[in-house]
């Protein structure tokens, strides 16, 4: 049962990581244009080099 003392904090930390990622995405306005983002990935414009 001692493993619980390790596993519970680990699982909470992993969940927390997901939460932080979500909040970061939200703050970064990544939910502003869901339709546009779905289409942008199909464009080949920045395939060879990243957008400056």
């Amino acid at each position: 049962m001692e493993i619980l003392g390790l596993l519970i904090p680990v699982s909470l930390a992993l969940g927390g990581l997901g939460l932080i990622a979500f909040i970061w995405a939200l703050r970064g306005r990544q939910y502003e244009d869901p339709k546009g983002d779905a289409e942008r990935i199909l464009s080949t414009e920045w395939d060879d080099r990243p957008k400056p």
Binding site: L4, G15, L19, L26, G36, E39, I41
Partner: protein, 733 residues
């Protein structure tokens, strides 16, 4: 502030009727001088290539720093200091995309975004907490004992308490507002359940008790916030689209100064200013013509379909359209003092008379929340008196509150409204008011306006056969030289018949009269009867005359073009057993003609704006629920007076503001479909109430009897929420 607007169904117009009637004027007045990005509306973009094309062409254009397309809103935001939208629109149009300027001051997107992000953040936090607590709870439900169970409870509590405090804040503040106003809204039992469940769980944990309701408290937050978010989305989408309609009309006037014409915002005009009104433009302020001859289209204000001749001395009202010649106007009243003020008085009167509509959700919660409190209190009292065990009694009362808590009820209405208005949106109807859909379901009488609503307000040539074949090329050449609607209609009809224009010399437009030219040495004219020396005759139809320089002038008759779908719409409404009335400000023969064509038995012509409002009011007095469909300034009071109202997107800003629903396309048939869909939505809402009550009827006796466990609370909550949502989604098809 953000919370205040989350759930206030009754925060409607009222506080400042003038601002509601003139939303743009007030917003511009408050946001003057802010140099913002240029926003263009791109109604035709739809794919990845469109995005790349538009951004590419704008970014390559000299002077543009950055351009970003938003496909969801179909807009592009351009950062180009010192450039104007007029310079950028041709750039976008050069690669084949339609572009319109949007007034950034009229788009309050940023505030709304913050509110949406705020709810999403709370959903995210409570979702994270719910998953973790649920994992710990499964261990407890599976039979964890003694120290292990206590530890799990402690960890759950450590996650749940901050989560409930953060994610439950919208409910707490809304409940506090309700209590301080002496009301019992839906949020009071929700808040009570959250607080009671958290505190009883803390107490139980401290005393190594068997049951803790941390999972239930967090789950309650999570599901209810989803309901809130759906509610918010529906409103935000409708609001942003309605704002976009407003923002499309960038109100500008051309003021005549010593240095020439200078474009100024309409809100900056003052009485005494001289302004120039170009042909085709809308009159921006009330005033008197001091120079120029033209014709004026008053249909939006009075319903008259025939243009009026305009000469110096004639008074014009804001909202009329100048047709042929440029005019110089001396402003007599501008902005909020103009004819809008008169309208505002009418709207304010009707607004105060409009019975306050109580939504189905409010009625349900008014019935439900006292009952919930009463049941929880009774079970507490009963158990306490029977056992004298305070801890047990509070535990059972908390269980009753959690089980009866309107979790599914909070989703029942928003889920249905979201799906139904999403479906109406795809058909081209925009719901502006939260309760409009429910009110639409009550409708038993439909009142239509004529000009601009049942008809397009655009003339159409009755018959091309009156023009001799050899005269057609001349007529086309004349018609193409003028921007007058009758000429445009004639040109369209002739081009449709395959005519090629004849070469004309000395083509000139005589504002207010018509257009003249020289053809093979003969003077040819197209225009008003008196200018060509003819009698106008029957006033039933608008007419124009064509003179070929010899023989009698030819009379060309025009009728107002029916709005597409108008016939289907009226016959579908009549077939559904509802009463249909036609109230128009136009002349009797024209109205009678239209009423006969559409099969409307009850019609009135020559109705003034006040009479329209009175007619609608009388119908309401008879206990009828009236749907008013209209577009003009003369309809605005009636739109406000009616139970629910619809206006087409071509309507005046003020009429759109007064109505609950805006018809985006030009087709009228969605109106009839929306009546059916509204009935379906209302019955879906009632079914949802029935489903959540059913779960309660099964679960409440168990809770009162003291057999409820946290596992059961969690099951009942999620099952009822999911079944209610699925039932709402059935409307999508």
């Amino acid at each position: 502030m953000s919370d205040a607007t989350l759930h206030d169904h009754d925060a409607r117009l009222s506080a400042c009727p003038a601002c509601d009637a003139a939303p743009l004027a007030s917003r511009i007045a408050s946001a003057k001088g802010a140099q913002a990005d240029i926003i263009l509306s791109l109604p035709t973009i739809h794919c990845a290539t469109c995005i790349t094309d538009v951004e590419g062409v704008l970014n390559r254009h000299p002077g543009v720093k950055a351009a970003r397309v938003n496909l969801t809103l179909r807009r592009v935001t351009v950062d180009a200091p010192g450039m104007s939208a007029e310079e950028l629109i041709p750039v976008v149009e050069s690669i084949g995309y339609e572009a319109h300027e949007l007034d950034p001051a009229a788009l309050s997107a940023s505030a709304a975004d913050r509110q949406g992000r705020d709810i999403l953040m709370r959903i995210g936090v409570s979702g994270f907490a719910m998953m973790n607590i649920m994992i710990l709870s499964v261990a407890v439900w599976s039979g964890a004992e003694a120290a292990t169970r206590d530890m799990f409870h402690w960890i759950s509590g450590a996650i749940a308490l901050p989560t409930v405090a953060f994610a439950g804040r919208p409910f707490f503040s809304s409940a506090w507002r309700a209590i301080s106003h002496g009301r019992l809204g839906m949020d009071v039992p929700i808040s009570l359940a959250l607080i009671l469940a958290s505190s009883i769980s803390v107490y139980e944990t401290l005393n190594s008790g068997r049951h803790a309701y941390f999972d239930a408290a967090v789950m309650l937050c999570f599901f209810l916030l989803i309901g809130r978010y759906l509610d918010y989305r529906t409103r935000a989408v409708a609001r942003s689209a309605a704002e976009e309609l407003t923002a499309l009309e960038v109100p500008r006037a051309f003021r005549i100064t010593a240095a020439g014409d200078e474009p100024v915002p309409v809100s900056e005009l003052v009485p005494g200013d001289l302004i120039r009104i170009r042909p085709g433009a809308r009159v921006p302020a009330d005033g008197e013509i001091i120079d120029g001859m033209s014709e004026i289209d008053r249909s939006l204000l009075t319903g008259e379909s025939i243009p009026v001749a305009a000469a110096p001395g004639l008074a014009l009202s804001a909202g009329e359209v100048n047709l042929t010649g440029p005019l110089v106007l001396r402003v007599t009243a501008a902005g909020r003092d103009s004819s809008l003020a008169r309208l505002t008085a009418l709207v304010a009167a009707a607004e105060s008379a409009r019975g306050h509509y109580t939504s189905l959700a409010d009625r349900a919660s008014r019935l439900y929340s006292p009952l919930v409190h009463l049941m929880a209190f009774c079970s507490f009292l009963g158990w306490y008196l029977a056992t004298h065990d305070l801890r047990l009694a509070v535990n059972i009362a908390a269980a009753v509150l959690i089980i009866t808590c309107p979790c599914a009820l909070g989703l029942a209405v928003p889920a249905v409204i979201t799906t139904a208005s999403g479906r109406l949106f795809r058909r081209g109807m925009l719901i502006k008011e939260g309760t409009a859909l429910e009110r639409l379901a009550d409708v038993d009488t439909v009142v239509f306006d004529k000009t601009g609503t049942l008809t397009m307000g655009v003339p159409q040539l009755v018959s091309i056969n009156v023009i001799p074949v050899e005269a057609r090329p001349v007529a086309l050449a004349l018609a193409q030289g003028s921007g007058h609607p009758l000429s445009q209609a004639l040109a369209q009809a002739l081009v449709g018949a395959g005519t090629v224009p004849a070469p004309l010399a000395d083509l000139r437009e005589v504002p207010g009269y018509g257009i003249a030219g020289n053809w093979q040495g003969r003077e040819v004219r197209l225009g008003r009867a008196d200018w060509l020396g003819a009698e106008h005759g029957d006033a039933r139809l608008s007419a124009s005359w064509l003179s070929l320089g010899q023989g009698a002038p030819i009379r060309l008759e025009f009728s107002d073009r029916l709005r597409p779908g108008a016939g289907e719409c009226v016959s579908a409404i009549l077939a559904s057993g509802r009463r249909v009335l036609l109230l128009s400000g136009d002349a009797a023969p024209v109205v009678e003609d239209l009423a006969t064509r559409l099969g409307i038995a009850e019609w009135r012509a020559g109705v003034t704006p006040v009479e329209k409002a009175t007619a609608v009011h009388d119908l309401r007095e008879q206990g009828l629920h009236v749907l008013m469909v209209g577009d003009g300034l003369n309809d605005t009071a009636a739109l406000t007076e009616a139970h629910v109202s619809i206006s087409p997107a071509s309507a005046l800003d003020a009429a759109r503001t007064a109505s609950d629903i805006v018809l985006v396309g030009s087709d009228l048939s969605p109106v009839a479909q929306s009546l059916t869909l509204a009935r379906q939505a209302r019955s879906r809402i009632k079914e949802n109430f029935a489903i959540s009550f059913l779960y309660n009827i099964v679960a409440v006796p168990i809770a009162i009897a003291g057999f409820a466990t946290p596992l059961m609370a969690a099951l009942a909550m999620s099952l009822s929420s999911i079944s209610v949502t699925l039932n709402a989604l059935r409307l999508r098809r």
